[in-house]
Symmetry: C2
Subunit: 462 residues, 2 copies
């Protein structure tokens, strides 16, 4: 994958302008300036507004032409009719990128389409590349840029990238992702993708050393064949996870009035995506779950999974899902069973023979985390990954022990905390330590199965 626009300065601009800036937090231009200041953006921020001298303590400029230095990025939030003028000025000032938040373009039909074409001609003439219009912009922890969710905390940078056409999906990825302990490299909402498209983003992220996992929300593809070609190449280097919406006739109609997208035939897309090595997500929470799973620092290369529970019901559900998704739950060897019985005798009440899944009957135990680690080690010796369920007495120290076991074995461990600790903050600690954590055993197994499929395929191809 190469020959794509270098987007480094989009995601890490040395300085930027907010065109349509405001002191009013109820306006987008006000939220952007406030968000950049509060988020700790390190470069210069230039508010641009025809009727102000100062905005939130920053000197204001009446138009883009007045800016006192060359900048990398213009964030544009002005009425749609004014966008062409602003883009023309960006071109004159050789501003490389403009994120156009404004709506009222191709998503509204013919009149909007004409305005979008006009904007695009001016951008092309001036050498400015456009993200949007009708988009929510960027969330880039390393650069401390966040125009997507006002007030969202900017967390540690990490390896997960997301690009999506829907502001709603992108906002949720930021909020739910942060809640779940995900660490992001780059997030972009690209709206109508009038200029820079999902294909451009995908091509760039495939080569981006900060990005380990690429995730996308796609309503319509302007260049479907290109997309699949680029995704196939990218999938040889890192997972490309796609939630493809606009699958139904009504959904396609909605996509058209949402981001002016033309959605294609979804069954064709699914088949082609499978061939390209794309991992398909089915809903918002499924997308987040896949991000969580693939954020694990080690991936598995085999189908054998160890299931270790404090809950019989969890063991049953995990086993069912494993079989449905073509994973193996191999019975432990006699040696491993003997070793585990020795480890557990006298520690927990009598229990069924520890074959796999292993159901650790709940009981008062001094150090249940230790139990999970010791039994998990025995089980991982004969398997490729572990799913552990219902660990009811979570604390950070024990989470650390499980992360250590992962490092020692170099095999992924997925957790499903019991209801007592099934809080987003508790789950975030585990996921943040590289121990992906899920709401239910079935979800953990479903994601693990996708990881196995991706790894085995990549192993073939690479």
């Amino acid at each position: 994958v190469s020959g794509f626009e270098n987007l480094d300065k989009l995601f890490n601009p040395a300085s930027l302008a907010v065109v349509g800036a405001s002191s009013d937090r109820h306006k987008a231009g006000g939220r952007f300036v406030k968000g950049l200041i509060d988020g700790g953006y390190k470069g210069n921020i230039y508010p641009v507004n025809p009727n102000a001298s100062e905005i939130l303590g920053l000197r204001n400029y009446h138009n883009v032409l007045d800016l006192p230095e060359d900048i990398d990025l213009a964030i544009v939030s002005v009425p749609a009719q004014s966008v062409p003028q602003v883009i023309a000025e960006c071109g004159i000032r050789r501003i490389k990128f403009a994120v156009v938040h404004s709506a009222g373009f191709s998503e509204l039909g013919d009149e909007g389409k004409a305005l979008e074409r006009k904007t695009l001609r001016l951008a092309s003439a001036g050498g400015t590349r456009i993200i949007g219009p009708n988009c929510m912009g960027l969330y880039v922890p390393r650069s401390h840029i966040n125009t997507i969710v006002f007030g969202a905390s900017i967390t540690e940078p990490g390896g997960v990238a997301f690009v999506g056409q829907s502001g709603w999906v992108t906002e949720n990825v930021v909020v739910l992702g942060n809640e779940r302990g995900l660490h992001f490299s780059k997030i972009a909402s690209i709206g109508n993708q009038a200029d820079l498209t999902i294909e451009d983003m995908l091509g760039y992220l495939a080569e981006d050393p900060e990005t380990r996992v690429i995730t996308l929300y796609v309503e319509g593809l302007k260049r479907g064949a290109d997309f699949l070609r680029i995704a196939k190449a990218a999938s040889k280097q890192k997972p490309v996870i796609v939630w493809k919406a606009g699958r139904s006739k009504t959904g396609a109609r909605a996509a058209s009035s949402h981001t002016g997208s033309l959605a294609g035939d979804s069954s064709v897309f699914d088949a082609a995506a499978a061939q390209s090595g794309i991992v398909l997500a089915h809903d918002l929470d499924d997308l987040i779950d896949l991000m969580v799973g693939f954020s694990c620092p080690v991936w598995t290369r085999g189908r054998k999974v160890a299931i270790l529970c404090e809950s019989g019901g969890g063991a049953v559900s995990a086993s069912d899902t494993a079989e449905a998704f073509d994973l193996e739950v191999p019975a432990l060897s006699a040696v491993a069973q003997k070793e585990m019985v020795e480890r557990l005798t006298g520690v927990i009440p009598p229990f069924a023979p520890p074959r796999n899944p292993v159901d650790l009957v709940w009981g008062p135990v001094d150090n249940p985390g230790r139990l999970f680690v010791d039994c998990g080690r025995i089980m991982l010796h004969e398997t490729n990954a572990a799913v552990m369920l219902d660990y009811q007495r979570f604390d950070e120290n024990l989470a650390r022990q499980i992360a250590d076991l992962r490092d020692e074995t170099q095999k992924p461990i997925f957790m499903v905390p019991g209801y007592v600790t099934q809080t987003r903050p508790g789950m975030a600690v585990l996921t943040g330590l590289g121990v992906p954590t899920f709401d239910t055993p079935a979800k953990a197994i479903r994601v693990l199965a996708e990881m196995v499929r991706f790894s085995l395929r990549a192993g073939d191809v690479l």
Copy 2:
């Protein structure tokens, strides 16, 4: 459905004993007594322990024979070997029901099976009916009984009943159900179902006037044909929602060592369940979602759904799912479109023609709830149900307006709150008002589709 054991005194005992009571909160018998006191159980509580005179301020009795009055229910938490003796004493005292929490029976193989048979013979001789063994017991808000989740708040009684073989699933139903704003009639964890089985529970709940929705977690069926016959009859009166686990070979093996259950062929079960009108759940969160949806005070009888969003992406996803699940998203009539344009002009920015789905472009609006109510009313005039998404500025007053619209139209309204209000407490308020609320549009539509299928079928049959 009739001829089933009357379980009124199990779920609403006038007085009860905790056998194996303790002052130690780390023991089950201690948690049970404390939980009953804290939960506000109104009848007499008799702790039974051979070595105490008082437990948590209550007079203790050395054995069941010493109890000073006839009681309806014994909650038994003693070592497995002592259970037969306790059950024999319950029989002598003509105690109608014993919930046997103790594990170590058929789930452990031959020795445990013999102990379970012995217990059962004694129970049968004495006329005591057993729930369990190897179970978590009861959560009954109306009776203020909770032995399932220590410390769980006892919420207002409602119409949703749950019975399950897994303690883990049952605990999660209590915790997640309360979090989501569900109101329960009766919850029971029945473990090995050595005596009273899921079929008995189902038959009773079908006739229980307090129960509007029956939900079950089933690992194995002792009397599969009976179960389907009873479920079919029950489904003519109220929905029967079943999560059937132990579907795979490994899952069945796990179920066997969990609750001594023999799981049958799952494809046979699925086909028979569909014929019987059973609604099938696929995972823990799906089960909770179905409970939430069917807890709605009005059900729909038609396939036409109105989709009204503050999010284009949400509209696309909801539309996709509607088509996949055989719901219709009919375009609004010209009259309704005109009416809505008149209502919205000048209130929100220019937007795409309001056909259905309707995407209300986000913008600063004085009373967004009013907007949802006014547009929803227009749309519901031509449809059978509404799904509304991304209502970002939730407050209780506006939730009330949406509940009023439901009462006015007598059509269900499902909500998907935007990320800003996508908190469990906010969702619980809506669900508690009878406005079922879900994490994603796809989940809302999936549940609505099950409601439509059930209602149309029940309409045929009744």
